[in-house]
């Protein structure tokens, strides 16, 4: 879908040679901290920004040139929703839905608004559609955008941190909606930094850093490529473990041995361990968080201060 995409604002390179491939029918997680270039990428896909170089293909079209036709088949939910203060939520939803239907009525890939779906979503998200937008909280503005984006029959949903400001209850309603959408065969690009959400919903994930994709694949594939953490206790004391290539961070702790091992060295390591009589062995695949932190760990300076990835410039709007 995207190859070698570049976009710079002045001297800030917001997207710097990004490759991204979203397959039809999948939910693709788009991960990265603030300022990594996620929003800029989505705005390029929406034809709001023009790429400096590289190619982007969206549903077989050019996102800049064919913007209007493509948008008939796209649903969009921004992460920072700003609404017209004197329109009610219901009016905003209807307006956006009718705009999505477009003026030309017999075009290919026509979206149709499902009235019952609109009302059902409003109900499920517990949104009062009669309130003027100026009185909505951030979470409620987000709900308006979600109803507008999800109630259309779009083939492709571009979601840019769509759950920011939602409470955990609404977050789970959102996840149900996305699962419904995939059952209907729709494709979703989900930009997020809520890892649990991505882990639950996404078939494949792309991790982006400084405008460049640093890792992409299914979660299973990505786990194979990374280290598994193992805790083992054996009859006899283990030795020689640290000499195996691919074993890291060996620590002995109250009769247990903990270490990390690369996927490639797993087989050799287990065979080595079995010579000491394994009593118990717990193996934990890397969590998405660990995968994520592995790519950003160096930015955090001290590894255990892993709370807030550094913010960069270059993500407007």
């Amino acid at each position: 879908m995207i190859e070698g995409l570049h976009k710079a604002f002045g001297t800030t390179r917001a997207v710097d040679g990004l490759d991204l491939d979203v397959r039809t029918g999948e939910v693709h997680g788009f991960l990265g901290p603030n300022g990594a270039g996620k929003t800029v990428t989505i705005r390029i896909l929406l034809g709001l920004l023009r790429a400096d170089s590289g190619t982007a293909t969206l549903l077989g079209g050019d996102p800049w040139r064919d913007a209007v036709d493509l948008h008939r088949r796209i649903g969009y939910v921004p992460g920072d929703v700003n609404l017209w203060p004197n329109l009610s939520g219901g009016e905003t939803i209807d307006l956006l839905a009718r705009l999505s239907e477009g003026g030309g009525s017999r075009r290919r890939g026509q979206q149709t608004i499902d009235r019952s779906k609109r009302d059902e979503l409003i109900e499920r998200l517990a949104l009062d559609p009669t309130k003027k937008s100026r009185t909505y909280s951030k979470g409620n503005r987000q709900k308006v955008a979600l109803v507008a984006g999800l109630s259309s029959g779009a083939e492709l949903l571009l979601l840019d941190e769509p759950t920011s400001g939602l409470d955990p209850l609404m977050e789970s309603v959102f996840q149900d909606c996305i699962l419904d959408a995939t059952r209907e065969g729709r494709t979703v690009l989900l930009s997020s930094h809520i890892l649990a959400e991505v882990e639950k919903l996404c078939d494949r994930v792309t991790i982006i850093r400084q405008g460049r994709a640093v890792e992409t694949g299914t979660l299973a594939e990505m786990r194979q490529l990374t280290r598994t953490s193992i805790t083992v206790s054996t009859d006899q004391p283990i030795d020689g473990l640290a000499t195996i290539e691919g074993v890291h961070d060996v620590a002995v702790d109250d009769g247990h041995v903990r270490f990390h091992v690369d996927g490639s060295a797993l087989d050799e390591t287990i065979r080595h361990l079995s010579g000491f009589g394994i009593r118990s062995l717990v193996s934990q695949p890397p969590t998405l968080e660990e995968l994520f932190l592995r790519h950003y760990g160096d930015e955090l300076g001290v590894a255990n201060a892993a709370t807030s990835p550094k913010t960069e410039q270059g993500e407007p709007g």
Partner: protein, 553 residues
């Protein structure tokens, strides 16, 4: 247990005593710091008001001093003004013109407009720092800090006082520098502060009552308008109603005309009274909402709200109607005083010469065409602000979901542009018709109506050119699109101050308004209108193309 109790200190209350309310905390805690914040945030605005008002004061005083150098000339001015309702409405009762001094003439020329300016400034400043802040949620950050409930209101009022005193002091210095008596200058400065603070208090009250900040601004602005009208009726009549208007109070202080200092008691009492009322009202409303509840909207959109164009109309129609009512009233008023124009010139040889030089036969026609030019300038402010909706929609990100739908940029932009272009024409028509009805009434000549509608409509192509320039700026240089206001400023200067500033003809020609035939004083000319229309179309097309090719903010 009922209610909510969050108090982690309960268990260890001996270690962490409850806040000591008696010593330092009140609902005004933090006011001093907030005053600094108000002044810090508004420093450019304050500088603009300062430069604008003191500058206007200075320029007016110097031009009056240059025009009327002898007692005879001053008496000539006074004779023109005395008893002329049209001028009294626009200038005030003319205290001190029985035995005119330079100070009295300067006051008659400038004081009313400065009072209106500080009144508007007072309303805007207080509403902006109270209700508008609540709507942006910035106030939440402050209120979560140890800042009292009434501190934002108090700091907005104190900030207004600082700004008003600063502007008044600048004016006093300027007036004394022109050699005017110190007592009168100080009286005028004090009257400015009085008006500014009373309307700051009005803003404080409307900020509590209205359902939103825009409503609060509108109600405050309307109060300024009512104060203007009350004193206009009072000044023309027996003066009683002028005492119902804070602007009337300021005039009744009679700067440079045997000052009546005791009148200052009125604003000095009214301002604290308004603040106390605002404080009491605030205690009866919730944070973020006014006493008048926000009405609920529809749960579903009407069929009209289905397109980008429908949205543009929906967003701008209220503003357009407001402009139409305001400008229509002003134009009607100009029409009503059309019969006074002849009288103005009877006593003033200089002005009669001036009109003779322009080759204008009827003074009434000259007056009406000048009035129409002023109306058109006002209406063009709508045109620019309407086109600049494109900017605010884009900068706020509200355009994103529109453009993420199958709507191209030209369609979106042309929606707002259509409101700007058609709205400009509608405003011109309303101005022409209202002035025409007014003039037809006092002149007893129904034929004036059609003539004045035509006189208004000839400005429409020039307004479209300004719209086109604004759009092109927004398309090519979005960061600089607010520079469109400079276009209006130039049009205004070229129209009103061309002879005073001795501007070269080529510079004047840059203003599209210079090419509009000044009906009814001049005769109709079609060619400039055709050229202006073609130019407007060219600018608009270029603007749309530029917008289509650039990145959105």
């Amino acid at each position: 247990m009922t209610g909510i109790a969050v108090d982690p200190t309960v268990a260890t209350s001996e270690d962490h005593p409850a806040p000591d309310r008696s010593s330092s905390s009140s609902s005004f805690t933090g006011t001093r710091r907030l005053v600094w914040l108000v002044l810090r945030r508004d420093r450019f605005r304050i500088a603009m008001w300062m430069i604008g008002l003191v500058g206007l004061m200075t320029v007016s005083a110097s031009s009056v001093a240059a025009l009327y150098t002898t007692p005879e000339e001053l008496e000539g001015y006074a004779r023109t003004v005395r008893g002329n309702s049209a001028l009294i409405i626009q200038a005030g009762p003319g205290h001190g013109l029985d035995d005119p001094t330079l100070g009295a003439v300067v006051m008659n020329e400038t004081a009313l407009w400065l009072f209106i300016a500080v009144a508007v400034m007072g309303v805007f400043m207080v509403v902006r720092h109270t209700r508008t802040e609540e709507e942006t949620d910035r106030a939440e950050l402050l209120r979560a800090a140890p800042v009292g409930r009434h501190a934002p209101l108090a700091s907005a009022m104190i900030g207004s006082l600082v700004v008003n005193v600063t502007i008044a002091a600048g004016s006093v210095v300027a007036l004394i520098a022109f050699g005017l008596p110190a007592a009168g200058s100080i009286a005028f400065g004090a009257s400015m502060v009085g008006v500014g603070m009373v309307f700051a208090g009005v803003g404080a009250v409307t900020a509590q009552v209205a359902s939103g900040s825009r409503g609060a601004l509108a109600a405050g602005g309307a109060t300024v308008g009512i104060a203007f009208v009350l004193r206009a009726i009072g000044d023309v009549g027996n003066g009683a109603l002028s005492w119902a208007s804070p602007i009337g109070w300021a005039q009744s202080i009679r700067s440079y005309a045997d000052e009546r200092w005791w009148v200052l008691i009125l604003p000095a009492v009214a301002t604290p009274a308004l603040v106390v009322a605002a404080r009491a009202l605030q205690d009866h409303r919730d944070y973020g909402s006014g006493l008048v509840a926000q009405r609920s909207g529809r749960s579903e959109a009407t069929p009209a709200l289905s397109t980008a164009r429908g949205l543009a109309w929906r967003l701008q129609r209220g503003v357009l109607i407001g402009w139409a009512v305001g400008l229509g009233a002003l134009a009607f008023f100009y029409g009503l005083v059309a019969d006074q124009a002849e009288q103005i010139l009877e006593d003033n040889a200089d002005m009669a010469d001036f009109f003779a030089q322009l080759g204008i036969g009827s003074v009434t026609d000259a007056f009406l065409s000048t009035a129409m030019l002023i109306m058109a300038l006002f209406a063009t402010a709508f045109t620019v602000s309407s086109v600049l909706r494109l900017r605010s929609e884009e900068v706020s990100g509200r355009v994103d979901p529109i453009l993420a739908a199958p709507v191209d940029r030209r369609e979106w932009a042309s929606g707002h542009l259509a409101v700007a272009l058609v709205g400009s024409g509608a405003l011109a028509f309303v101005c022409g018709a209202a002035m025409g009805v007014g003039a037809a009434l006092v002149l007893g000549d129904v034929g004036r109506l059609g003539g004045l509608v035509a006189a208004a409509l000839v400005f429409v192509p020039a307004m479209w050119v300004v719209a086109g320039v604004t759009l092109l700026l927004h398309g090519l240089l979005p960061r600089w699109s607010l520079a469109a206001w400079a276009v209006i400023a130039w049009v205004f200067v070229a129209a009103m101050f061309a002879s005073v500033l001795n501007l070269p003809q080529w510079a004047l020609n840059l203003s599209p308004f210079q090419h509009v035939p000044a009906l009814p004083a001049a005769s109709m000319a079609w060619l400039p209108l055709v050229i202006l229309t073609a130019l407007a179309i060219g600018l608009i097309v270029a603007g749309l193309v530029a917008l289509d090719r650039r990145d959105m903010a």
